[in-house]
């Protein structure tokens, strides 16, 4: 019997096509993506049946954590720079250009103005720790939150306000935030919620 000779096939696979696919997908993801913003606290938003999506730009985020600390952030680096310059002037806090630059890179923060300088000089890794975020005061005697909103509105008149609060946040804190907004005649705002299926519709 003659031996059946099995021809060795080359194991070489042309990877070019796969490479094409990989980079096509990569391009897609790069173009469509908007990065998840890093937030100093993780909040569990309540659910609602509302299906309105939040726009991506011109958003002023007000984050309220369960303990009642208020955080604040706007989008746009240049806008943030103008904002901190304004606020530094109002509260007579002198910030170096380097500190202003650092502020413009922070998405969202929660510190009173007196602690701002120290906060900006922390290294970015520990900046988000809860003990380094004291919350923005929003009391009637020292309403820095209101000033932030006012200044942000001056910097970018197209801002829309989005309130993102934890389910367990006590109502008085929300009331304080809403009152401050009301005093500034900011009567339209968005409450960020997660999706719940509408009953029977």
């Amino acid at each position: 019997m003659p031996k059946v000779k099995i021809r060795r096939k080359s194991t070489w696979i042309d990877m070019t096509a796969m490479c094409d696919v990989a980079f096509l997908l990569l391009t897609f993801f790069m173009l469509t993506s908007n990065f998840t913003k890093k937030e100093p606290v993780l909040v569990a938003t309540p659910s609602s049946v509302s299906e309105i999506k939040i726009p991506e730009t011109n958003i002023m985020t007000v984050l309220v954590d369960p303990s009642g600390k208020v955080y604040f952030g706007i989008d746009g680096q240049d806008k943030r720079q103008q904002l901190i310059e304004k606020m530094a002037e109002i509260y007579k806090v002198s910030l170096s250009p380097d500190e202003i630059k650092r502020f413009s890179l922070i998405d969202i923060f929660g510190n009173p103005m007196y602690a701002m300088k120290a906060f900006l000089n922390l290294s970015p890794e520990i900046r988000d720790l809860p003990q380094n975020n004291l919350g923005i005061p929003a009391d009637s005697t020292n309403n820095q939150f209101k000033e932030w909103v006012r200044a942000a509105r001056d910097v970018n008149p197209e801002l829309r306000i989005a309130i993102k609060a934890d389910q367990k946040t006590p109502y008085p804190v929300i009331k304080k935030v809403m009152k401050s907004l009301q005093e500034l005649d900011e009567n339209r705002y968005n409450l960020i919620t997660k999706l719940e299926t509408a009953p029977g519709k």
């Binding site: 990877m15 990989a22 908007n34 309540p46 367990k168 109502y171 705002y189 409450l191 960020i192």
Partner: protein
């Protein structure tokens, strides 16, 4: 890459100026690896799901009289009080001598009551939704008809009062019920003096 580099040295000795043909085949495997690595990164770092939002419009400080005007019509007024421990209370009409009833945020609770109270409008909205699907109504017309229905003068007016013990979830739940029950006129109001007494009296 390995194939490109192994041509050096050996054929130089021959002296002939014949360039050796380089293999044109390049191993793309590392590039594919890199591609997929980056894809993975982008997939994990992006937020594909955009958060939902609920739009609310609060009455302005300067239009307080307007709110009072709507409250004046006692027959349409519903007051919802958000209490502690996820409890919710409601009463119809005036604060004086109101019959405060406890209910829940569940579908059989607050929603049922509000739907009953808002029966006409809710029915019309429901009909309109069905009609929209059946007749393929365009969005513009749908919105216009919706606004017409919601402008109903006899629809209930809901006042939402949250006590200090209520939490944010309670508030959003209550606002959500307003949306579900197609109630167009509602407001988050501060607890005023008569209601404070009522709350104290009932031990909410």
């Amino acid at each position: 890459m390995a194939e490109i580099s192994h041509d050096s040295g050996s054929h130089k000795k021959s002296g002939k100026k014949r360039s050796k043909k380089l293999p044109t085949r390049i191993d793309f495997t590392p590039m594919v690896d890199l591609g997929f690595l980056l894809i993975t990164f982008f997939m994990l770092a992006t937020s594909l799901i955009k958060p939902q939002t609920m739009e609310i419009t609060m009455p302005s400080d300067k239009k307080v009289e307007d709110v009072d005007k709507t409250i004046a019509k006692a027959s349409q007024a519903v007051t919802v009080i958000l209490g502690k421990n996820d409890k919710v209370f409601y009463y119809f009409g005036k604060t004086e001598g109101a019959n405060v009833i406890e209910t829940t945020y569940a579908a059989e609770g607050l929603r049922k009551i509000l739907l009953e109270k808002n029966y006409n409008v809710a029915k019309q909205v429901e009909d309109l939704r069905v009609e929209k699907i059946k007749l393929r109504m365009d969005e513009d017309l749908f919105q216009r008809k919706m606004a017409e229905i919601k402008a109903n003068k006899n629809a209930p007016v809901v006042r939402i009062m949250a006590t200090d013990e209520a939490n944010y979830k309670n508030l959003v739940d209550a606002l959500d019920e307003m949306n579900i029950c197609s109630i167009s006129r509602y407001a988050i109001v501060d607890i005023d003096e008569p209601d404070r007494l009522l709350i104290k009296e009932k031990g909410i």
